[in-house]
Amino acid sequence: MLELRRVSKRFSGIAAVDDVSFSAQSGEVTGYLGPNGSGKSTTMKMITGLIEMSAGQILYEGKPIQEDLIAYKRRMGYVPEEPYLYTHLSGAEYLTMVAQLRNLPARQSMGRIDGMLRLFSLFDDRHASISGYSKGMRQKILLTAALMHNPQLILLDEPFSGLDVASSLVLRSLIQELAARGKVVLFSSHELDTVERICSRVVILHHGKLVADDSIERLRSLMELPTLEKIFSQLAVEQDTELMARQIADLIHA
């Protein structure tokens, strides 16, 4: 189980994440939602250990992650929000490098890399430079790199970004399959339909603060709203979206 206890992060005194507490259980997919700038990616980066918390604690299996960060990193797989990769390497070279850095046995890692690249339809382009890859192809490389060591904790920050319909459907099923096999999956996305389909519970963040943490079913019944989109709009969207659209059209004299 992954647990955040009163976690805060301040940049130059401004709170990006403010006193956030929630937990993600193994065997379920936890959706992590929020508008742009609400602190989702900052939380993800704190959970991966990329940035330090200003306050609070992150626990994995009941232990603070800083206690043995290396052991924690061994069990974690992370797909970042942006597909930043070393673009001078080919897909195969990048994944092999990640496997070597993770100290995976060469034969095992080669088998997994080749297999995943084939399943993601990237095998034929594995020796091409990543600089020429589309956003979707880069996303598949990130997913392969995040999953090839069979992590127990899977952190997915906008994993559907750039993926085509077929790949998105595969990934959707894959996330559910991994959760069914006992993994802890924390999944951040703006695609509320997808979140509604695959997540058992959601955590909603707004201006760095937690505004909801419950199962979708309970949120629906509590707030008496039919869809996650409506719940999200009520909790985290401040503007009147239709009015805003009209104002933009007026501004450009459309």
């Binding site: 990769l85 990640v98 850095l101 993770r102 060469a106």
Partner: protein, 564 residues
């Protein structure tokens, strides 16, 4: 004056001014500098180095000229200086073309950003050419600011007429400008022809090889071409081919034609210079126009994905998985990133220039000789350049935003990363430099002295590698380094004032003790002890070190500073 220039600039179209300013900041190869780099500071430092060189040239010319009393020797000295300055200017322009490789041609980013905007292709072309010409002009001015006055004055004095200086001064500047324009336009023509003849993806690959080939050619020609200092030497049949193939001699002829001192039998040199500049200029104009008319659309239409090379994808092992990962990452970054390739080529160029110079002198001597002090010193300097070159290049990040993967996969202790960095430094700088030195020292006798020197050289390489690792708790090519922050002038003078005398002293000591096995063994032992001491020091500090990756600097909005 300033307001007049400002008024003139304000008369230019706004889109041209905006683009010109942007291209001026990017005139150094887009990939050669981090986008956050202080480009102006970086160029300013290079300008400072060029001004210093100009002052050194002027001083050497004046002192050398004043110390010679014989008229014939003074004339030879003047001819030598004339050719040397023209050749040096051409080398600087050559290096500038390597640094600003492809920046005059439309790149994919320009096309993607500017094509949807109402900006005509010829505006982009003129803005790019203006930006490149401005930096080139600055290089010409700074490198000749002192020598461009002193040398024409000395040549004028040598002519013995009061009008000599007034004739020589414009002749000198016109020649220098023409020589620079010739070389720059020639490179543009070759690049343009490659871009026009080949599909874009092949052009991109070919362009990278051309860049390195041009770099090697400019340095090779500069260091290897013989210096012909008297009219008699130039007129001999056996030297005819040198004059025929060396553009610096063509422009040397042009300068002497313009100042009225060219021998009639060498007038063909000036003729070649005129033909050369005409051909290069027209070639460059034609290629640039065609590229902007034809290849801009092609740039967008061509697919991004270049299929990987088929066949063997061998991944050698360099120790454990971490050492292999870091060594492969280093060599791939060095060979595939233009930024790193060009930067490292600068250091390697010095190594090869010295190697070529020695090879040339060796080819000219038939009998094997004892190891001379100069050779010993050269190999030490080669090793220094190779190690410090790789160390400084590895401080340039390849992609700061992609470093997250190294941080999330950091499963081993920092000392293991530092050990892997040491291995990479030894593999890709010490080893190649040592092999080159070993190959060059084969003709020397006796063999025991050669072996002893190679042992000392290997130990020196180890010492330099350990010095490079002091405080370097980073993975190579992942650190946040912004060019423009380091003081190039300080490095430049540190090399001349510290490294050169140190290499000379070590070479001198080795030369003195070469026939005393006991003293030689002592020297090797001392080197070994220093290297091992540094190794132990670095290893003990690495135990408590924290591997760090710096983040991108805070984003700032660049103001264009233009008023509508």
């Amino acid at each position: 004056m300033h307001s007049l220039i400002q008024q003139l600039i304000n008369r230019l179209p706004l889109d041209f001014r905006i683009l010109c300013r942007q291209f001026l900041l990017r005139v150094i190869d887009l990939e050669a500098l981090s986008i956050q780099a202080d480009v102006v500071g970086f160029l300013g430092q290079f300008a400072g180095v060029l001004i210093m060189l100009s002052i050194v040239h002027a001083t050497v010319s004046y002192v050398g000229f004043a110390s010679i009393s014989e008229s014939e020797a003074r004339q030879a000295f003047c001819l030598h200086m004339e050719h040397y300055l023209i050749a040096t200017m051409m080398l600087v322009v050559g290096l500038f073309t390597v640094l600003s490789w492809d920046t005059t041609f439309p790149d994919r980013r320009d096309v993607m950003v500017l094509s949807p905007l109402p900006v005509a292709p010829h505006t982009i072309l003129f803005a790019k050419v203006t930006a490149s010409a401005s930096v080139l002009g600055l290089a010409i001015l700074t490198l000749n600011c002192a020598s461009g006055v002193v040398v024409p004055f000395l040549v004028g004095v040598e002519h013995g007429t009061s009008w000599g200086f007034y004739q020589c001064l414009p002749a000198y500047w016109l020649t220098i400008t023409a020589a620079s324009a010739f070389l720059y336009c020639l490179v543009l023509t070759i690049q343009g022809l490659t871009a026009l003849l080949f599909p874009r993806r092949i052009f991109l690959r070919l362009s990278a090889f051309l860049q390195l080939a041009a770099f090697g050619l400019f340095l090779g020609v500069y260091f290897l071409q013989p210096s012909l200092t008297t009219p008699a030497e130039m007129a001999t049949a056996q030297n005819h081919w040198i004059l025929e193939w060396s553009p610096s001699y063509w422009f040397f002829g042009l300068f002497n034609q313009m100042n009225g001192t060219l021998l009639p039998q060498l007038s063909w040199l000036a003729y070649r210079a005129w033909i050369g500049i005409g051909a290069a200029l027209s070639g460059a104009v034609a290629c640039l126009l065609l590229c902007y008319m034809r290849t801009m659309k092609k740039t967008i239409e061509e697919p991004d994905l270049v299929p990987g090379a088929h066949g063997l994808h061998w991944m050698p092992s360099f120790g454990d998985s971490l050492q292999t990962a870091i060594a492969l990452f280093c060599i791939r970054s060095l060979t595939r990133s233009r930024q790193h390739r060009v930067a490292f080529a600068f250091y390697l160029a010095m190594v090869f220039a010295m190697a070529l110079t020695w090879l040339q002198s060796e080819l000219s001597t038939a009998t094997p000789s004892a190891l001379p002090t100069d050779f010993l010193m050269s190999t030490f300097i080669m090793m220094t350049f190779a190690v410090f070159g790789l160390r400084s290049v590895s401080a340039l990040p390849i992609s700061l935003t992609a470093n997250w993967v190294l941080r999330t996969t950091q499963l081993r202790a920092p000392q293991q990363y530092i050990s892997a960095t040491r291995l990479s430094l030894l593999l890709f700088s010490v080893l190649p430099s040592w092999f080159i030195s070993a190959a060059l020292s084969l003709p020397f006798k006796p063999s025991r002295n050669v072996v002893a020197h190679l042992v000392l050289l290997a130990l020196l390489g180890w010492i330099l590698a350990e010095i490079s690792l002091i405080g370097f708790y980073k993975v190579p090519f992942t650190c946040s380094y912004l060019p423009g922050k380091s003081n190039i002038q300080l490095v430049f003078w540190a090399f001349f004032l510290v490294c050169l005398p140190l290499a000379a002293s070590i070479a001198s000591i080795e030369h003195d003790v070469r026939n005393h096995p006991f003293k030689l063994a002592n020297m090797a032992f001392l080197f070994g002890a220093v290297a091992y001491g540094l190794f132990v020091f670095n290893r003990s500090r690495a135990r408590s070190a924290i591997l760090y990756f710096e983040e991108l600097p805070e984003e700032v909005i660049t103001t264009l500073g233009l008023s509508v």
